[in-house]
Subunit: 438 residues, 2 copies
């Protein structure tokens, strides 16, 4: 596998490794001071960053224009070009996002648990920052702003490696953020980049155990797996979604269609978009023709198993793009207007299929039967399980977290959308009066 | 580094890897059923396991007698022999521990957060088991029982690799636990071992990403670092403790002595035992002579920095074992009746020394000054910070968790003593009525 943004293996040259560690260590020193600031100070800092982004929107947009022109000349596809765009309107949106994060409750200092032991020792488990968070992401300039603001709000430092295609935009954005930090008396080392080292910078981050506390990859499956496989720094696996919707025999079929269309088509290139549809055989004959019609009208191609293929084919829907699914389809995240459709004999079969093929991101059930809902929500082993609702709701913003660092598909530390709380750890403090252990 | 219990690198043979994965997969299948049992069923299961351990205490103790005889013949030291001993008295204690875990509140199903979105979608974040937990530990048979009971109580399966010296004891213990599972209609695959594959079994566990969800090493620093460095399965780093006590200039010196003695000598071979003493220079002349006297009486050797060495030497304490500390001392976990002593010029210097040399386990301050306590507790970056209390309290049992899986010294997922709650993850469930994203 080759990835344009990270060097997977091979030697990281010592000067690069040392330079990346030095930046992480400077970030860490600055972070210990940031951790001691009040929530009000950090909120005010974020408002200043937002104002600075708006004040310099022209400069950032100009840098982005150059990135866009180069990417276009290099033949970048329309979807990626759209994600790369960071024009003045989007910069203003991004600044508003920073203001939204500024207004969120301070996650630090929360007493998660607290009680007094029989010997009188008072124990408090208190929320504290993680430290230095490394982020390796693809060419989406808004992520630079999101991560910087979430890290600063939660008392963490950030070391960033953005996609090379957004290099100019990220440099311009970081210059503005760092200048805003310095102006308010904060150390600019709190938000730093390794973009100047190219792919080797990302490889160095993955080696920097003891310097970077947590590494979060955000982007396509290739990028994420490369980081998960190679990093010596603790990683949170994010994002890949092979998202299923199951229509139970008890499902309200009228309710199902808009949910499926929304989950599949509202935005096709995102991790919470539906990729697979499982339909109980008792309702397949009634449901699949109307569903296929709706999907065809929305321009969604269908990859069907034998039974589903037969039912849809017999219906002779005008304009339907129908093909037979292969075994590979069940494990594929299309990120495109394609959906895999399979008829299952039972709720058990649906759950077994999902737990075998899902990436553990989000699944949904369309059902009116209470016991079916209970079985599905309890037994499906994914970060998020929706009942009679679109899978597109799996999102830090929608969940009320403000921006999100990413969506964790692993079970350790955080699962599902990661907001401020997921960017913290805890510390136990024991207040005693001379207690010793008997 | 060589470790008798795990093979660090080199090929794991395919048949061994496949066999270990097959056991983990069987454990996983059984775990999905266990996760659906009620808390009452799991508590009753634990009581049956406790009864079975007592009923077969003779068999287990006999197997342990053979392990002990072999270890003694091979020259195992007294401390390790003591940890290896699992006689009928200790087995009964262990069974009581299982009953204690049985009586704890069920961690599963807790709604960690729950709220309704503006569109009416009801979100619940619910506590669920992690899945299959792998444990690699040294020759301490009580850990086998602790881990099995904590896993079963929290709805997880366990794959165990115990120290080779306890092989016969662990096999006898597991046979009893698995028989108790089968008798109550639970799948014995829930608690399995890879001891029959020796060191290669541990190496296979570290490779079994996707089969084992979490790997926890418990034992000496060598074992832990070998697992952290080599595992492809997510690991929680546990246990190593280079524990500091700082006596502030405001400290109550009479209070300090019993705390230091307790922390250093109550049990010298454990991770929460004090290893270093930092003393503010303003009280060094008054405190160090009385402290050195107390340590000498307790048979604790002192490795002192220049200033501390001079003060203690001048006092001419009878029987004191005094030597100059080297730079290496500050990073050493002695696990022996030795303490490193250093005089510091300020609270800042103490905090900087600790954050540089500590393993992040537990530190303590002896102080009466409010601001010194605040500074120390906020700025020391360790899992547990004690004020005027012994560091020996960092323990899952003391904290009220029942038994403990280990003490996490990392920041991801869990920090400090790990009990039932730390053996869970969460799942988001969204209850809708047809919501789609605009």
């Amino acid at each position: 596998m080759t990835n344009p943004d990270i060097q997977e293996s091979g030697a990281v040259r010592a000067p690069v490794f040392d330079a990346v560690c030095a930046r992480a260590d400077a970030a860490s020193a600055a972070q210990t001071r940031l951790a001691r600031t009040s929530g009000a100070e950090r909120a005010a800092l974020l408002l200043a960053v937002a104002d600075a982004l708006e004040a310099h929107a022209g400069d950032i947009a100009a840098a982005n224009g150059e990135d866009m022109a180069r990417a276009r000349a290099e033949g970048m596809d329309a979807g990626k070009l759209d994600r790369l765009r960071f024009d003045e309107g989007r910069i203003r949106q991004s600044a508003d996002g920073v203001r939204h994060v500024a207004a969120l409750a301070d996650p630090l200092g929360e007493v998660v648990r607290g009680y007094t032991l029989p010997n009188g020792l008072r124990l408090n488990q208190v929320r504290v920052p993680i430290g230095v968070i490394g982020m390796i992401y693809e060419a989406r300039p808004n992520v630079t702003v999101d991560v910087a603001s979430l890290c600063l709000k939660s008392g963490n430092a950030a070391i960033l490696r953005g996609g090379h295609a957004a290099g100019g935009t990220n440099a311009a954005t970081l210059a503005v953020v760092r200048a805003a930090l310095a102006e308010r008396g904060f150390d600019p080392a709190l938000v730093d980049t390794v973009d100047d080292f190219g792919r080797e910078g990302a490889a160095a981050m993955m080696e920097a155990r003891g310097h970077i506390d947590l590494l979060v990859p955000r982007g396509g499956a290739g990028l994420i797996q490369a980081v998960v496989r190679n990093s010596k720094v603790p990683v949170i696996e994010t994002g890949a979604g092979n998202v299923h919707i199951y229509v139970d025999r008890s499902g309200d079929l009228e309710k199902a269609i808009p949910i499926i269309l929304n989950a599949k088509t509202q935005r096709v290139g995102v991790c919470n978009a539906a990729e697979k549809l499982l339909v109980h055989r008792d309702v397949a004959d009634a449901f699949l023709p109307m569903c296929a019609q709706a999907l065809a009208s929305a321009g969604v191609a269908i990859r069907a198993d034998g039974t589903a293929h037969r039912i849809i084919e017999e219906t002779q829907i005008r304009g339907v793009d129908l093909a037979h699914a292969t075994e590979e389809d069940w494990d594929t995240e299309y990120l495109a207007p394609i959906i895999g459709v399979r008829v299952v004999g039972s709720l058990d079969e649906a759950i077994a299929h999902i737990n075998r093929h899902s990436t553990g991101h989000t699944e949904a059930i369309i059902a009116e039967d209470y016991s079916a809902v209970e079985e599905f929500t309890q037994r499906v082993d994914s970060a998020v399980v929706m009942v009679n609702a679109s899978t597109r709701f799996t999102d830090g913003g929608v969940f009320g977290f403000g921006a999100e660092l990413g969506i964790s598909t692993q079970k350790m530390h955080a699962r599902g959308p990661m907001g401020l709380r997921e960017m913290t750890t805890t510390k136990w403090i024991g207040y005693g009066t001379g207690q010793v252990r008997a």
